[in-house]
């Protein structure tokens, strides 16, 4: 009897903890959504608060998002989409190549390169922003999509993941491909890549997420108002001369939505993408 009783208490504690934490995680979304439906003036007066006049909620701010500031917000959205897609695609292509190369072949310098991959994985990019900025200026990458993408297209974390994944690829296929007269790259693209599809899914989503939300580097490399990505554009609405909450909140909500949809559609790939390295010893 006592053990049953104990179990019940345990279950209550577990669910209570889970519920409280879940509430903590979701409450900000609720307020972001509600705030996006309120006039920005109210935000200035009270901050984010429990006093909500539900009858005053309306979609006006979202309309402003399309029309306001000469339609700059849709432009930011397009910039973000282009940069995210291009970044993800190029990144997957290159890092899968590198990861595969490191896993399949034996060649001189392989260990050195792999060690470098591991080291670079552990360096915060923030240290490099100054020289990278100077470099970007000197090779004319400032204020362009390329400038945002190029320095971070070959992500070490992705390489690491693809390498781990490619280690488990069957070597027999490689030999069979060679006997059929396929070149090394043909083998990679036609035989191995399809086998690595789950890895592509996981890394693709991870890369898309980090690219969509990336802040530090785009903040520095982008210049013109019409080239900004969403996070930078939203940040630019916060000024010493009064924050534009009418645009900020609906803008923030809209920026979360696509990545949220992607997550809901493909939770599994998200999660396996994140467990890179976490499981290895």
């Amino acid at each position: 009897m006592t053990s049953k009783y104990k179990e019940k208490i345990g279950a209550i504690i577990i669910y209570l903890t889970l519920l409280v934490v879940a509430l903590f995680c979701l409450v900000p979304f609720f307020f972001l959504l509600i705030s996006s439906l309120r006039p920005g003036v109210e935000m200035i007066q009270n901050g984010i608060s429990f006093q909500i006049d539900f009858s005053a909620l309306n979609l006006k701010n979202y309309w402003l998002l399309v029309e306001g500031k000469d339609g700059i917000y849709p432009l930011w959205y397009i910039n973000s989409v282009i940069i995210t897609v291009a970044h993800t695609v190029f990144s997957l292509l290159f890092t899968s190549m590198v990861g595969y190369g490191l896993a399949i072949y034996n060649f001189k310098g392989k260990n050195l390169i792999f060690t470098i991959v591991l080291v670079v994985m552990m360096i915060p990019v923030e240290i490099l922003i100054l020289p990278l900025y100077k470099l970007a200026i000197s090779i004319d990458l400032i204020d362009s999509y390329m400038g945002v993408i190029l320095p971070f297209v070959v992500t070490p974390t992705c390489i690491f993941f693809f390498r781990q994944y490619a280690m488990s690829l069957p070597r027999e296929l490689l030999d069979a491909g060679r006997i059929d007269g396929c070149g090394e790259f043909k083998i990679f693209f036609q035989i191995m890549m399809p086998l690595m599809l789950p890895a592509f899914g996981a890394m693709g989503i991870l890369q898309a997420m980090s690219s969509w939300n990336s802040f530090v580097w785009p903040l520095i490399v982008l210049r013109s108002t019409d080239m900004l990505t969403l996070p930078i554009g939203l940040q630019s609405l916060i000024t010493p001369y009064g924050n534009n909450y009418d645009l900020l909140f609906p803008g923030a909500v809209m920026s979360v939505i696509p990545i949220m949809i992607l997550f809901i559609i493909n939770q599994k790939a998200f999660i396996s993408g994140l467990t890179v390295g976490g499981v290895k010893g």
């Binding site: 279950a11 577990i14 903890t17 889970l18 934490v21 995680c25 979701l26 900000p28 935000m43 901050g47 984010i48 608060s49 429990f50 290159f94 890092t95 190369g101 490191l102 072949y105 034996n106 060649f107 260990n111 390169i113 591991l118 552990m122 360096i123 990019v125 923030e126 240290i127 490099l128 922003i129 100054l130 020289p131 100077k134 470099l135 297209v153 070959v154 490689l174 006997i179 070149g183 090394e184 790259f185 990679f188 997420m209 939300n213 802040f215 530090v216 520095i220 969403l230 996070p231 939203l234 940040q235 916060i238 010493p240 923030a252 979360v256 990545i259 999660i271 976490g278 499981v279 010893g281």
Partner: protein, 314 residues
């Protein structure tokens, strides 16, 4: 590891095009595969690092007035602002580790229990915040921690009869806000790390333990925790890395490196302020190099302790 057999067929050089041969050649192909990384490393990593090192010995007033000043930039690091930044960053890292390791571990254990229902929904809820950009999160937290009585946090405190607080002008209050912001965004990610670790623990271990009469808490201490050591080490590493390179959270809360009394000034914020706002490129480079060394030391120690070098066998 198996050495791939050399296939004679491939060696017929038809000279259709040089590129084709290059791509087909087994000896050169591996280098082509890793080429993107090598190029990217040289151009976007090694070169910038080297130029940072060089700049850290210079005083730069403009493209045409650069003077070599030796170690002066590093000597100038001995000032209260840098120490404050170091202290703020260290405290931040400490608190994020203290919260973001035990809490997600506990939640992961709860979620991993067979009897828990609604796991999928909890997991999604915990993970949602990780999908937002730091600017969106900062927007919410800045306003929720506003100083009026009506703001979210102050009105919650009001329920318990606590007076409203000026959070973002108080060292402890703002540290709390920063750590909470970080917790909100990264809790779900760490839960997933721990969950994947938990799923790797063989069920038999628990079964035999419960036959021996060990209760759940004992099982946690003697089986779960030791088995999760690699994951915990990994999360520890990324926490140190993330903590010391923190920039955007503070930037979002105070719209730039402008917290009062430098209560939210982290090392990278200091670097940004000196490099971009004050245009002391040389000095900022010295900050960057110092941070680099700091993070490397911490990482190497951590890897050493976890026996990483032995396993990977370079």
């Amino acid at each position: 590891m198996l050495e791939p057999p050399v296939v004679a067929l491939n060696k017929s050089y038809n000279r259709l095009s040089k590129i084709k041969t290059l791509f087909a050649c087994q000896k050169k192909a591996p280098y082509l595969f890793v080429l993107p990384f090598v190029v990217s490393f040289l151009v976007f990593f090694l070169y910038p690092i080297i130029s940072t090192v060089i700049m850290s010995f210079q005083r730069i007033d403009g493209p045409e007035s650069i003077t070599f000043i030796g170690l002066k930039n590093y000597k100038n690091l001995i000032n209260p602002h840098f120490f404050n930044a170091l202290w703020v960053t260290t405290r931040y890292t400490f608190w994020t580790m203290l919260v973001l390791i035990p809490l997600p571990l506990l939640l992961a254990v709860f979620l991993n229990k067979k009897t828990t229902i609604g796991k999928k929904y909890f997991k999604s809820a915990f993970f949602m915040p990780a999908l937002t950009s730091v600017i969106v999160a900062g927007l919410f937290f800045r306003l929720a921690f506003g100083e009026q009585e009506t703001t979210l946090v102050n009105s919650i405190l009001g329920v318990f009869g606590i007076k409203p607080m000026v959070w973002l002008q108080d060292p402890e209050g703002s540290m709390f806000a920063m750590v909470l912001l970080c917790t909100w965004r990264w809790l779900g990610v760490n839960i997933i790390y721990f969950l994947s670790g938990l799923q790797g623990i063989p069920v038999e271990l628990y079964e035999s333990a419960s036959i021996d009469g060990a209760n759940e808490i004992q099982q946690f201490w003697h089986i779960t925790l030791p088995s999760l050591k690699p994951v915990i080490m990994y999360v520890l590493t990324i926490s140190v890395y993330g903590g010391y390179s923190m920039f955007a959270e503070s930037f979002a809360l105070w719209s730039g490196p402008r917290s009062p009394g430098e209560i939210g000034m982290t090392i990278v914020n200091y670097l940004y302020q000196e490099g971009f706002n004050n245009n002391n490129l040389g000095f900022a480079s010295a900050i960057g190099i110092t941070l680099f060394v700091l993070v490397m030391i911490v990482n190497v120690i951590q890897l050493w302790v976890s026996g990483f070098f032995k396993k990977e066998g370079v």
